[in-house]
């Protein structure tokens, strides 16, 4: 899981956003933008344009709807509900074959050429395996990976029961694991 230290959002920032403070909204955007974009990007099979559209859509909805956010739910739950909905809407619109796209840079490895080759092969296989998951499993798996939400929070974000979250995570990760078994046997 990606280590994240700035997950907690203060009530003040939310309140400032509700009163229309653009700086506060920018601060909120900066905290979440990379996680939202990464989720959207991997969900969209590496399509940077689709991921940008989803990210933009999520934050615009957030800004225009934050006046209705009463603070009786956790902010991250609400945010990830918007992300999940936007991703699922995009999946319904684009029932295309798996593909990956541009604008992705891998950090150069420090190992040998063979190690670099193997690392790229692994990353490519993992992306392909995630892309092959059914959208409902894919979004659940990415949500668990990109933020440290409880099952209850994930259930609220995905608008389903905790049992359904657990089921989707179990089945999604099992599919990933089965597809990636060959990688586990690497030397």
């Amino acid at each position: 899981m990606v280590p994240l230290s700035d997950r907690e959002i203060s009530a003040d920032i939310i309140q400032d956003c509700r009163s229309g403070d653009r700086d506060a909204f920018r601060a909120l955007y900066d905290i979440y933008k990379d996680r939202v974009y990464s989720m959207a990007l991997y969900f969209s099979r590496g399509d940077a344009a689709a991921a940008s559209d989803i990210t933009q859509q999520v934050f615009l909805k957030l800004m225009t709807g934050i006046g209705q956010f009463r603070g009786d739910a956790e902010f991250s739950t609400w945010l990830y509900r918007l992300v999940a909905n936007a991703c699922m809407d995009a999946a319904r619109r684009q029932k295309a074959a798996p593909k990956y796209s541009q604008d992705m840079e891998m950090v150069a490895g420090e190992g040998s050429q063979e190690e670099d080759y193997a690392r790229r092969q692994i990353a490519s296989s993992v992306r392909a395996a995630v892309s092959a998951l059914p959208p409902k499993f894919r979004v659940a798996v990415l949500l668990r990976y990109f933020d440290d939400l409880s099952y209850e929070q994930m259930a609220k974000a995905l608008q389903c029961s905790m049992g359904t979250v657990a089921s989707r995570l179990s089945r999604g990760h099992r599919m990933l694991g089965e597809r990636l078994k060959g990688l586990a046997r690497r030397p």
Binding site: G20, T64, Y100, Q102, Y117, S124, Y151, H173
Partner: protein, 351 residues
Amino acid sequence: MILTRHPLRELAAYIDERLPENRARRTERHVAGCTRCGNDCEAIRLGMAELENLPLVEAPDAIWTAIERQLQEKPAPKQQWRWTLAAALVAAAIIGVAYWGAARRLGVRWEVTRLAGSPVVGTTVIGATGRIGAGEWIVTDAGSRAAVKIGEIGSVDVEPDTRVRVLVTQPTEHRLALARGEIRAKISAPPRLFFVDTTAGTAVDLGCEYSLQVDADGVGRLEVTKGWVLFQWKGLESLVPAGASCRTRPSAGPGIPYFNDAAENIKQALERYAFEKGGVEDLNIVLASARVRDTLTLWHLLSRVPVEERGRVYDRMAALTPVPEGVSREKALQLDAETLKRWREELAWTW
């Protein structure tokens, strides 16, 4: 009590230690005695572990720019937000129609700021600032520099000894023509809104920052520092990512892009190969010296080398980095558009 049903639904929660204690204990006992669930647990753990290979990806700056632009058309969220939003949308629509109409008739004049010396717009030396519209030239001498604000999408610095003309200033198309000299563009907008024409072709912005130089003979060089630029000329295309450059020549269009940190012998061989009727020897140099990152260069070469050399280029690329699913040697050598696109998209993860 031991579970009688296989608890697949709960295995991820069990592994994540999110099950209530009593259920976790029952699941643990079941898994210990059930090969099928043991295997499922192993697969789930593996799936969770392999996800660590997915890095967090930085959101492009263009997203915020687009959000800001849209927010400027919307009111801040208030109690009466629906009415305010509706009013703002109507106002925005009216202004938009008026702006669109005016822009179509007259074009918009962009702001020019003097950075050094005495830049000239049209026939006038500008003061601290000036304006430039479609059809007008901005000219700098050896001691002059200027910055042009490109509508709402970015800016272009005009370096010394440069002649650049503004061609189109519409919201849907921002177009310059660089006759000679150097410009540095910083654009934060959706792709294909900003274009720069040269005698060797057109640089199409795909959301990026770059510099473009053209000398008196029309020989040019594009260097991208952020995002991507597409350089087009008569059906020939070079896609140049951040950290890479591309030479251009009149009557030949864009050359083969290369990363700036590529070996010097590769750059020299590419220059000869693309523009000086270089042959197999130059191709051999490129193939022998290419690194993984240089698949950018090899990918472009694939469609530009003679058909009998394509197999060697393909084989070198395949040796450098895994060929993704859906890309076959046969289709790649046929230059099948979908196959090449698919391969490029996968290679781009390493560029």
